[in-house]
Amino acid sequence: MGKLARKVAIIGAGMCKFGRNFPLKRNPDMWVEAWIDAVNKVDNGIEPKDVDACYVGNYSSDLFNHQGHLGPQMADLVGLTPKPASRFEGACASSGIALRQAIIAVASGIHDIIAVSGVECMTQLPTTGVTDTLATASDDLFEYPAGATFPGLYAAIASAHFHKYGTTAEDLMRVGIKNHENGKENPFAQMQQSISEIMASKVKSYEKQGRDVPVWKNEFDFLKSSANPMIASPLRLFDCSLVTDGAACVFIAAGDIAKKYTDTPIWITGTGQGSAALSLHDRDEITSFIATREAAKQAYQMSGLGPKDIQIAEVHDCFTIAEILAQEDLGFYEKGKAVEAIKNGETHRNGSLPINTSGGLKSKGHPVGATGAAMAVEIFKQMRGIAERNRQVKFDVERALTHNLGGSGGTCVVTIYQK
């Protein structure tokens, strides 16, 4: 399996504030903000003339915004034309793929520095339009007529995981509670509130409306109540990631050049990508993603590291059950054992393996095509020790991993970072 032909590093990374930004901000606005934020993170500065190409990850601007051909559009906005500009699509793994392709192109010697862009503006469409657009990443011919939605597919995966390993709805809730606690500490997150703060604000709004004020004993009590409706059993509203507009930017540079821009490049030592049949029914296993296992195997092999070496990770928690599967498929925990680790606080930001310190897709938000690049932004911040507010982990991060999943597991990109 492949090796990087020359060293590759991240020299700067940034993002815009995630949220329901439309119509105040559209893709071009958000991308320019992300670019400026990333430029500001390059210690010795960077100019468009230093950048050789623009790789854009975007899932479905065609359907969300009636705009295709994003490569040159994004390149032009930051002064990169007439250099090569391309768009990459792999559902929610789109900018993970753009990042990986940039790594490969820089390692090959074709380019020295590439600006990786992740953009998605989802809220331009009403909710039904968003649901239908997302559904095009699943199997339209055989899953759609059976009633499959994205939450429904992950819910079916959860049902099988519950049956096989005894996982419970409370185990899922712990993932959401943890990620909201992290998102609260991220000024770029869409929902900067813990679950208990959300409960308090709900009580306040009920009081204001003169409605009966509910009494919830604790977070679990709230999450099991009608205030958290069942979307697709066993997944409730707070098991689902958010509909978000956002953009992120990552500068990838060749090893010998990186030192010109910063004394502390974040090295990329492993990249892997895997695939699987679009339909759950066409796979051998429902409770494990083969695309994740394949991508992880490649990335670990390339870096010479194993799951035990990883100190922090950003994983694709599009639904709470997905974070559990990722922990298992990445080899952090044995199958069926991840929930115990969550219960013990191991994946909390002060635990032994902090996962999704950014707040994850659950709380930071999930502008699908921007998610992979935004994961790299969080890892960049954590490894540099510049994560905002109170979410910086308390130890020096030398080895980290991102896991970016597309659709219901049809695509996966895993990246490994070292200092």
Partner: protein, 140 residues
């Protein structure tokens, strides 16, 4: 004997419309596929034949969905009236997706994985659209 249909998605859908659940079987390695494949991904053979499934299987995964697809909303399902999406492992081996009926969708805890089911072709008539038949299942 009638003409043997080419192994295509359209042929499979036409079989469903005539209430037959058909798959393809590799003549070389005996692997079976539903929906059918024209190319065996186990042994690379293209020597495939149609085979009718018994329609019997077990629930492998399911979810009772309240926020559904546009198609299911048109069929009258809603947050108050969820439907059940399921993945069924057929007795012959392959898995397929289908709506599961004859269960209490408002009480997902009463639906159990590995429950035996049999095929039920679901006829749908939506005003202004052609009537259609989709693959579904119900408990035995």
């Amino acid at each position: 004997m009638s003409e043997v249909k080419d192994i295509t998605i359209q042929s499979y859908l036409e079989f469903i419309a005539s209430k037959k659940l058909m798959g393809s079987k590799c003549k070389k390695c005996n692997e079976m596929y539903v929906p059918p494949r024209k190319l065996c991904i186990k042994c690379n053979s293209i020597d495939m034949e149609w085979i009718e499934m018994s329609g019997k299987g077990k629930i492998a995964a399911f979810s009772c969905i309240g926020v559904g697809t546009t198609f299911m909303e048109k069929k009258g399902y809603s947050m108050k009236k969820p439907y059940c999406f399921s993945v069924i492992k057929l007795d012959e081996g392959p898995m397929v997706s289908g709506q599961l009926v004859g269960v209490d969708e408002t009480k997902p805890e009463t639906i159990k994985i590995e429950t035996p089911v049999k095929v039920k072709f679901l006829e749908t008539e939506i005003k202004g659209e052609d009537p259609r038949i989709d693959l579904g299942f119900e408990p035995v």
